[in-house]
């Protein structure tokens, strides 16, 4: 009977664990992905990796975490800077080896809607995508197993992983899952163009002319001039998941693009049609960063592209002038299109504190 107080104390002590475990489960809050209804819900979030507030917060830390690289100096954010709409401003990127990467760092916006990632679409799903840059010897150069061990040694991460994934040890798979959760939240839908659709911004005369040229295909027989850009870059998200040969080379030899994945000759020099959201911030352009300015890009489509055998059908057949083989837009029309492209810069996206370096804000 003397032991009763002890037993009660023990019971209280044990029940505190029970309460704590229950609370841990309840602590995960579903993350509400917010986007315009016009963007639609044509995306799949893996059932084993639901997006949660806690998972996204962890993913954000990992995105900025140099411990995930072999030199402890490179993070995802090294080549995906928020101020540049998560690109890096270089033709090719520099990682742990100092050797340039093969292709231009892609802007990370609205990846929620992208099924097959990279310039050649080689990987399905953001969880699988993250493995490549982390382990590539010229990018972050560290195996996921080593990264998991590095994180386990810190004071910060073990409890966060336990909270999000409910396991006592950190795994590589959990790292990719958390990163994917964060990347799904990188939604850009608040540019002046988006606001103009809601009536909250009035396009200038030049921007409006540029938008009309951007959206419209040329029909000289009806006196209609157009850049036909939207055929591949259009839709509510200004992004379609298609892969085209845009005549950068007569035959793509150094980098054969999608052909390297599919083995199909018709995929020679086919690359992802990149999103144009924040395009004014993501120079240089193309998979190899060969164009420094939007003017050079417009000149390419208007005047210079090669008639490669599998050139995009739209490029082959869009003409404003019967005498010109290519688009044949005037220089002032090109300027208008560029003015419109600048309205796709989402200053809220590139300054959103939720996407910024969490370690810097803590300072």
């Amino acid at each position: 009977m003397r032991n009763i107080p002890l037993l009660v104390a023990l019971a209280v002590f044990l029940s505190s664990f029970w309460v704590e475990t229950k609370e841990k489960k309840a602590e995960l809050h579903p993350y509400k992905l917010e986007y315009p209804s016009s963007f639609g819900s044509r995306f799949v979030i893996p059932a084993d990796n639901p997006t949660t507030e806690e998972g996204v917060a962890l993913g954000r830390m990992l995105f900025y975490e140099p411990l995930l690289s072999s030199t402890n100096t490179v993070s995802c954010a090294s080549c995906h800077e928020q101020t540049k709409a998560f690109s890096d401003g270089r033709p090719l990127s520099i990682g742990v080896s100092g050797k340039p990467t093969r292709r231009n760092s892609m802007s990370l916006a609205n990846l929620l809607w992208v099924k097959n990632l990279f310039w050649d679409g080689r990987v399905s799903g953001l969880e699988n995508q993250a493995i490549f840059p982390m382990t590539h010897p010229d990018e972050m150069g560290q195996s996921l197993e080593v990264s998991a061990k590095e994180l386990a040694k810190t004071t910060r991460y073990p409890s966060l992983f336990r909270q999000v994934f409910g396991t006592s040890s950190i795994t590589g798979e959990q790292i990719t899952k958390a990163l994917a959760q964060f990347e799904r939240t990188l939604i850009s839908a608040d540019s002046p163009y988006d606001r103009s659709l809601k009536g909250n911004y009035t396009l200038t005369a030049s921007e409006r002319r540029g938008m009309e040229l951007f959206m419209r295909g040329a029909a000289p027989e009806r006196g209609v001039r157009g850049g036909n850009c939207a055929h591949c870059h259009g839709g509510a998200k200004l992004m379609q998941e298609v892969f085209h040969n845009n005549g950068l080379d007569s035959i793509a030899v150094a980098d054969r693009g999608k052909q390297e994945i599919s083995g199909d000759e018709l995929d020679n020099g086919r690359f992802r049609v990149a999103t144009l959201r924040n395009i004014a911030l993501t120079a240089p352009y193309m998979h190899d960063g060969r164009f420094n300015t939007l003017e050079q890009v417009l000149d390419h489509y208007n005047e210079h592209f090669h008639f490669s055998p599998n050139l995009s059908h739209e490029l082959r057949t869009s003409h404003n002038e019967p005498t010109k083989q290519r688009l044949g837009l005037t220089s002032s029309e090109k300027k208008d299109i560029i003015a419109f492209l600048h309205t796709l810069t989402d200053s809220i996206f590139i300054t959103n504190p939720a996407f910024s370096n969490p370690f810097e804000t803590k300072k």
Partner: protein
Amino acid sequence: MIHAFLKLLLSGILVSVIGIQGLFAQTLSVTGEVKTPLSLTSSDFQSLERIEVTAKDRDGKEHRYAGVPLTAILRKAGVTLGGELRGENLSKYIIAKAGDGYEVLFSLAEVDAEFSGRTILVADSVDGAPLPQGVGPFRLVIPDEKRPARWIRELKSIEIRFAK
């Protein structure tokens, strides 16, 4: 010098590979809710039921398209058409995909001539000539539609799925 020569040689090989074999190497796959998955080549197309239709393309001009009716291909794959197109089979749909990744959807019922009365063609020739590169070897032609946005060029695959 040697490097330049090699590059020239390589691009020469590539040009000939693309030029000569490019079109012939292409196949059309039929997968999903089928009895027999198919992978059809241009020569397979010659041995199937062939028809010709006249239809207006994006250029606004009438063209003669020849090829195989979509239903003939679906029947060869054992897709539930005709009398079998009832009950839950009416919640089946087709995803047709182009070489560049472009995808469009048809309900299975709308493509079945017995059901909807319409003929959809998988064309391999236009005005008596094989479809040009970038359009062929296979293209969907839907004569009665006012906008040719589902006339997929470089048709690569047809997948039959259940709406779940």
